[in-house]
């Protein structure tokens, strides 16, 4: 038999068919071609055989293009049996390696719960103001003076009437005018209520329903009031409130701040209840107990009870304006109209050059935080910030999963090999490993939901939540989002291991496992370092912020707060209150003031030398009685105390050291006896004393102690400061409470301990500490879990090596060092990178912080020590276990 020469045939047909055909078909066709060629070559000349060969190739092309489907058993990925098998194997794997499963599931769950919390917060935020039918065409108008960095939520009072009268774009407009806050009295029943003046258009624009009353005209008549269902029940019990008359006494309560700051009561006369807001749990940025008809304002203007702003375009601080835009018009049409208003009304006002009125989308109200905001809201920036933190944690947890799965590839290698030999395609394996990671993620989801129920109350308990009112209700949508999150995390965490593991060649993994190496540790070390750097950053940051908090708590305000109780006057006469309280045995001193220093409120005044045309020097002013500085132990540097209140007391002031400098004197004694002119009433006052600088402004706001004036004007007093002698504080307070009932039977006693009041001004920082500290805790937990996983894995792998070393005489210490050296390096590098990073990043905000602490080496050392301790404990748990094993156990089987 003549030997056929395959080499005579060109290679291209083979390549062609391999390229265009399915694997099996190519094999078949090329085989056919060669066999036929061989057969022909035996009958005819090689040349002829070759010609036939080419004809055959051409004849094959049409059928090759048809592409026969694979005829081997279909390994259809979504085969029910296979899916069943995947889950079975996944589940067995989870159970078999309990430690690793726990690390993976717990780590992911921890991170997931934080993400879920943020989802809940966002969902909560989005649920506001959804009940308004017109929500897409409502706009709020903002004002922006040229020099302001962000707009004010408030607008000039006359804006609404101008817009309604002169602009056709605007279907309807309403305004809320602040200033309603006081007590309504009906048949001896007193209820405190806060709210706004508004007009009938309020109910056209907003979709509040009235349980009783007609929304068309409820706010049309003067002296009519619409109240909420809750207020109605408290005030009227079971009586029908509609048409009833209540007496209203205004105390100037602030619409937002729930605690005090009230002014002497002013009776506004009788009001008729014309509507009750339905009890529908309206979630809105508007919060009010009462709406008073704007028509009532006329009478109040007349009696000088409220300043008339009807034509005041200059004041844009007290009115919120909402418009309902013609549905065919856009925001830019609205802004164009507003520009026209500004051109018309503000060209004559020099100081309003560059003033702007801007339309704000209704949906943006709950995420923008502006000045004079009608409510407290978390600005969108905070959400971004929190989301970034959550993502960092999430990435860290996903890295753990990836790391451990890849590291433990060996335990799966045989399975992968067998699956491949049995015909599994790479995509089948990818699907399998992804389904495993998704399953882990879903288990984490269950755990995360449990964790979330634990975190939620803690979050709601944060100080700041009393302003933000997060309810964090879970709805179906939220649960669907959670589920989606779990799927996404499953895929993200699993994609790298899936791609990596599915790429194993069966020949290698089945034949000699020794050639399988889990890969260089390089990448994993980098990831681990990344996790620890993040952890160190959060740890040091939270320590730093906590130190800052402590620093504020221990701050020397230069006045005494010990045993001092601040009692709100609530409109009662100061003389009467102090006379009554002084008679209580435990009370050692009483003084009065209008503002509690260093709690965030301040009043200004301008002073200049009388008879000159010089600029007024801006200063802060505190209205106190003559005993104030003694009671608070503020040092008097020169001159004498304020005189007791009386005719002449108005003429004298005290100033602080800063004011002395500000007014151009070098020494306190020089200013004594000098007279100054007050900017607003041109009165002349005389400086009779100088006090040491003490903190008047909030520590958080400013470092400087500005110039301050103390003035005895009893009509401004809002608080009495009661000094309680020695111990027996509680007994004295209950006595004060009894006495208070005689002074004011209507309003319950409102008091606060001065030191606690000051501490409360920093509660916000403590919230930040809690949040950052919690994140730090999560970050370090996840990093340590990851390290624990790696240490466990290394320990398992090195069991034999350790056995052999021990047999050869290695000591426990040596072995522990051997096993932990790599991890210690990781920790060390993390500190080397993390410490300077944290130092730089934290100093960015710290440098702009008033009254700051130093970010010293001690914080970095403490943070690093914490990191090392946790890290070493983590590694130690494994290395000690391995170094103690009896070599007999690990080597017996060989």
């Amino acid at each position: 038999m003549k030997k056929p020469e395959n080499s005579l045939l060109p290679k291209w047909p083979e390549k062609l068919f391999t390229w265009i055909c399915h694997h099996d078909q190519a094999e078949e066709i090329i085989g056919d071609l060669q066999e036929r060629y061989h057969l022909r070559a035996q009958r005819m000349s090689p040349g002829k055989a070759r010609n036939y060969y080419f004809k055959d190739v051409l004849a094959y092309i049409p059928s090759a293009v048809l592409k026969r489907k694979s005829s081997s058993k279909p390994t259809f990925t979504l085969y029910p049996d296979m899916i069943n098998n995947y889950f079975k194997v996944a589940f067995r794997n989870l159970l078999r390696h309990k430690a690793f499963s726990f690390i993976n599931i717990f780590g992911l769950a921890v991170a997931m719960s934080v993400c879920m919390l943020i989802i809940l917060m966002l969902a909560d935020q989005r649920s506001y103001d959804q009940f308004h039918v017109n929500k897409d065409s409502i706009y709020r108008i903002l004002s922006k003076p040229k020099e302001a960095s962000q707009p004010y939520a408030t607008t000039p009072f006359p804006l609404v009437s101008t817009l309604k009268k002169e602009y056709a774009n605007i279907d309807e407009a309403t305004q809320l005018f602040s200033g309603v806050g006081g007590d309504a009295v009906y048949k001896q029943q007193v209820v405190e209520m806060r709210g706004f003046f508004t007009d009938p258009a309020f109910f056209t624009i907003f979709s509040y329903e009235l349980a009783q009353g007609n929304s068309q005209n409820a706010l049309a008549e003067p002296n009519s009031m619409v109240i909420t269902g809750e207020v109605a029940r408290r005030l009227f019990n079971n009586e029908n409130p509609i048409g009833k008359t209540v007496q209203f006494t205004d105390r100037g309560l602030h619409y937002l701040q729930k605690s005090g700051k009230d002014s002497p009561p002013v009776s506004w006369g009788n009001f008729t209840i014309t509507g009750i807001i339905a009890d529908k749990n309206y979630k809105s940025h508007l919060a009010f107990d009462v709406l008073v008809s704007s028509a009532s304002l006329q009478a109040l203007y007349r009696d000088n009870k409220i300043i008339n702003l009807t034509d005041k375009w200059e004041d844009h601080h007290q009115t919120w304006t909402y418009v309902l835009l013609d549905p065919t018009k856009t925001q830019s049409d609205l802004n164009a109209s507003l520009q026209q208003v500004v051109r018309q009304k503000y060209t004559s006002l020099k100081e309003f050059d560059g003033f702007q009125l801007i339309g704000q989308k209704f949906s943006d109200i709950n995420t923008d935080l502006l000045s004079n905001e009608i409510t407290y809201r978390l600005p969108l920036m905070i959400y971004y910030f929190l989301s970034v933190l959550a993502i960092v944690i999430m990435v860290s947890a996903c890295l753990n999963y990836t790391n451990l799965s890849v590291a433990r590839a060996l335990t799966r290698a045989k399975e992968i090999g067998v699956r491949k030999v049995n015909g599994a395609k790479r995509k089948d394996l990818i699907f399998q490993f992804l389904s495993e990671s998704i399953m882990t993620a879903l288990l984490s989801l269950l755990m995360a939901i449990i964790l979330l129920t634990l975190i939620k109350p803690a979050f709601k308990g944060l100080w700041i939540n009393q302003f933000l009112h997060f309810e964090l209700e879970s709805t179906l949508v939220v649960y669907l989002l959670f589920f989606g999150l779990a799927l996404l995390i499953g895929i993200i965490a699993g994609v790298y291991p899936a791609l990596h593991l599915s790429g194993f060649q069966p020949v290698y993994v089945l034949k000699n496992l020794d050639r399988m190496r889990p890969g260089k540790l390089g990448m994993r070390k980098v990831l681990s370092v990344f996790q620890f750097v993040i952890s160190l950053f959060f740890i040091t940051s939270s320590i730093l912020i906590y130190k800052q908090f402590q620093h504020f708590l221990e701050f020397d305000y230069k006045f005494n707060t010990n045993n001092i109780i601040n009692i709100e006057l609530q409109g009662n006469d100061y003389q009467k209150v102090s006379a009554q309280l002084r008679s209580i045995p435990g009370v050692s001193a009483i003084s009065a003031t209008d503002i509690i220093p260093a709690t965030g409120t301040s009043n200004g005044i301008g002073l200049r030398k009388p008879g000159t045309e010089a600029e007024f020097t801006n200063m802060w002013i505190l209205h106190t009685d003559e005993k104030f500085i003694d009671n608070l132990q503020i040092k008097l540097l020169a001159g004498k105390h304020l005189p007791a209140s009386g005719e002449s007391a108005d003429r004298f002031i005290l100033v602080n050291e800063s004011a002395v400098k500000e007014l151009g004197y070098t020494h306190p004694s020089q200013i004594i006896g000098q007279t100054l002119e007050v900017n607003w009433n041109k009165e002349v006052v005389e400086v009779i004393g100088v006090v040491e600088n003490f903190r008047y402004k909030l520590l958080l706001n400013t470092n400087e102690i500005g110039p301050l004036v103390l003035h005895n004007q009893p009509e401004n007093f809002k608080y009495v400061n009661v000094q309680v002698a020695g111990n027996g504080l509680n007994g004295t307070i209950s006595k004060i409470e009894d006495t208070w009932k005689n002074i004011d039977p209507i309003h319950p006693l409102k008091y606060e301990f001065f030191d606690e009041q000051l501490a409360a001004t920093h509660q916000g920082i403590l919230d930040v500490v809690s949040v950052i500290g919690f994140i730090a805790f999560l970050a370090i937990t996840i990093a340590c879990l990851g390290m624990l996983g790696m240490a466990t894995y290394t320990a398992e792998r090195k069991m034999k090596e350790v056995g052999i070393r021990k047999v050869l005489g290695a000591g426990n210490m040596g072995i522990m060092l051997l096993l932990s050296r790599g991890f210690l390096t990781i920790l060390f590098i993390s500190v080397l990178i993390g410490a300077p990073l944290s130092y730089m990043a934290n100093n960015v905000w710290l440098q702009n912080f008033p009254n700051r602490v130093d970010f010293g080496l001690d914080i970095l050392l403490l943070g690093s020590a914490l990191l090392f301790t946790l890290g070493i404990v983590t590694i130690g748990s494994q290395t000690i276990r391995v170094s103690r094993t009896n070599p007999v156990d690990s080597l017996r089987m060989d």
């Binding site: 056929p4 395959n6 099996d24 094999e27 078949e28 066709i29 090329i30 085989g31 056919d32 071609l33 060669q34 066999e35 036929r36 061989h38 057969l39 036939y52 004809k55 055959d56 190739v57 051409l58 004849a59 094959y60 092309i61 049409p62 059928s63 048809l66 026969r68 005829s71 081997s72």
Partner: protein, 114 residues
């Protein structure tokens, strides 16, 4: 079954598969047809016919042994399915009943030994 009709070439290939079973694959079928008809039959044409027959459900196929002549590649072996068998029997009975009804003088005499 997409189409129940059977082309002439397909019918011959199907018959050949039946003849050559269990060793029916494109090269053998092509060789067989070539020697039976004396015309050149390309493997590709046979392959295409087999593929159509398989689509119609008249043959089954499976991958067979690899041989040296094929450069170590496997071949695809074909067998006739019950559907294939039925259509072959149908065609045959149609033809035989037609042959049986031809009158002796109807066909001009030819010399079969040519």
């Amino acid at each position: 079954m997409r189409r129940s009709d059977l082309g002439e070439f397909e019918e011959v290939v199907l018959l050949t598969v039946a003849v050559l079973t269990p060793n029916a694959y494109s090269v053998m079928i092509a060789e067989e047809l070539e020697s039976a008809t004396g015309n050149t039959v390309s493997t590709g044409a046979v392959h295409a016919a087999l593929q159509r027959l398989e689509d119609k459900g008249m043959v089954n196929s499976y991958m067979g042994e690899a041989t040296k002549e094929r450069g170590g590649r496997r071949k695809r072996l074909f067998t006739v399915t019950p559907a294939g068998s039925r259509i072959l029997h149908d065609v045959r009975s149609v033809r035989e009943s037609l042959w049986g009804r031809i009158l002796p003088q109807a066909l001009p005499k030819i010399d079969m030994a040519r």
